[in-house]
């Protein structure tokens, strides 16, 4: 009972603190802007912990954050092995293959206005489909090791990157293209000096979307068959053993990996598209 009260108290305290910080004089300072969501997140964790204790929820259903953290510290080697299998071998490989393929097709399609007009709608259409359903088929084709996961990821990231790259390559003004013509510049110099740099904001938009898709693809694909390692594998087997704290541990790793990858791409984007109005 006391835990429930403590939980509510903590929630209230966190809320009040955030209200004062947000509406206070230093509300726009960078450190405060980072602190507020962190306090919010911390409050949720603490309330979670107390409520599980107070309402006596079966840890099989909902483990406490402290349980999850303990489990994580115990299982670091296994978590790491899963991470390497799923994210590095599966997701990263597929991301690179799919990205390069999409880029190549975009440049090919770019040479012909006709092709561009055909590829854009078809690509957007395919990007909305449940491509994850391909996973069992690919496991049959490529075996159950990381190659099939990389293949799923490659297909999943292909379409968003393709659509964004094609849109980006088109996004030059007539004046910029005319300037290139006054220099007597042919297709390739115009491509490298004008259209590719101009396409970068779009391409990065596609790459950011693709990071999330890559992770999802790699993990979900493992539900369909995997050697005895891998995040998706661990999640589904820990399920079967009702070891939900391990499931949550893997999810924490997935969340950290997801934000880290997205953050990396964003940093790269900021560096390479420093000139775009949205970054100035």
């Amino acid at each position: 009972m006391i835990y429930i009260v403590l939980g509510f108290a903590f929630w209230a305290a966190g809320w009040v603190l955030n209200v004062r910080l947000a509406n206070g004089p230093s509300g726009d300072v960078r450190s405060v802007r980072i602190a507020i969501p962190l306090i919010f997140g911390l409050t949720i964790l603490v309330v979670w912990e107390f409520f599980v204790l107070g309402f006596e929820i079966n840890p099989v259903f909902l483990p406490r954050p402290s349980d999850i953290m303990i489990r994580m510290s115990q299982e670091l080697p296994r978590l790491w092995a899963d991470f390497v299998q799923t994210i590095i071998k599966g997701a990263l490989t597929g991301y690179i293959i799919g990205g390069l393929a999409a880029f190549g097709v975009a440049i090919l399609a770019d040479r012909s206005e006709f092709l561009t007009r055909g590829v854009l709608p078809v690509g957007s259409f395919m990007a909305a489909l449940p491509i994850v359903g391909i996973a069992p088929i690919f496991v049959k084709w490529f075996g159950s090791d990381w190659e099939s996961k990389a293949a799923v990821v490659a297909v999943m990231v292909f379409f968003p990157i393709l659509v964004n790259a094609v849109a980006g390559l088109r996004d030059t003004t007539a004046m910029q293209r005319d300037l290139m013509r006054t220099y007597g510049a042919g297709y390739w110099p115009t491509l490298f000096k004008l259209r590719l740099p101009a396409a970068r904001p779009f391409i990065f938009n596609g790459l950011k979307i693709a990071t999330t898709l890559a992770l999802i693809g790699a993990i979900v694909a493992e539900f369909f068959g995997s050697p005895t390692v891998g995040m998706g594998f661990r999640i589904s087997t820990s399920f079967g053993q009702l070891a939900l704290d391990m499931v949550w541990a893997e999810i924490v790793v997935a969340a950290l990996a997801g934000s880290a990858c997205y953050g990396l791409v964003t940093l790269l984007e900021r560096w390479m598209t420093f000139w775009h109005p949205s970054n100035r």
Binding site: Q176, D178, R181, T182, Y183, P189, L194, P197
Partner: protein, 281 residues
Amino acid sequence: MYERPKLQSLTPSTTPTQDADGLSPLVIRASNLDLTFQTNDGPVHALKDVNLEVNKGDFVSFIGPSGCGKTTFLRCIAGLETPTSGALSVNGMTPDDARRARAYGYVFQAAGLYPWRTIGGNIRLPLEIMGFSKAEMGERIKRVLNLVDLEGFEKKFPWQLSGGMQQRASIARALAFDADILLMDEPFGALDEIVRDHLNEQLLQLWARTEKTIAFVTHSIPEAVYLSTKIVVMSPRPGRISDVIESSLPRDRPLSIRDSAEFIAIANRVRDGLHAGHGQG
């Protein structure tokens, strides 16, 4: 889109043609030039029966209301549009060949600098495409930045510069590869009066120093009269030349010349030409 038939050139040689008394060679020669655009709303007669001769070292302005074809004509000279009939030669070649031979520098209405390159990088753009050596590129960049009064801004980015400075950088870029001809399409249109005056002065100084042939499109009568040796007044619907005025003003002119009687007389003649065109339009 409009039809693009093959355009015949006046003389197929690559040397500039000479006019009757063998004096300054003809840099631009247009003969019965016609251009009709086929648009969704029917054909648009952008240029009709345009005849013009521009000598080397001339500063020719094109002035007229919207739709009179002045920008279209400039683009024809640049090889960016193709006339539907008539003859046009630039340096004795077809405009397309002249474009490939990098015979001119073009300055657009907006600076159009690439935001991902520094000012120096932007000036380097045509030089890279045309294959200059690294040492030469460096030297040329410094030289043209000097010409337009932008030394020290080589490492800055376009958005860090004001509108006037960006346009100066755009002019520098057009000068970098030493083309004989400079084609400018209302380059100062978006700038305020003071900056515009200043840039007009600088442009004249530049012209005096480099002895290029300049074709300049503008909306502004004082600007046209102040800058040019020859003023071409155009009128719309269909786009045609209503008057060609050879300016009697001396080549070396301070801004104060705008108050002189001669200046006002020429300006009035331009204005009359514009009114006449307007009436018929």
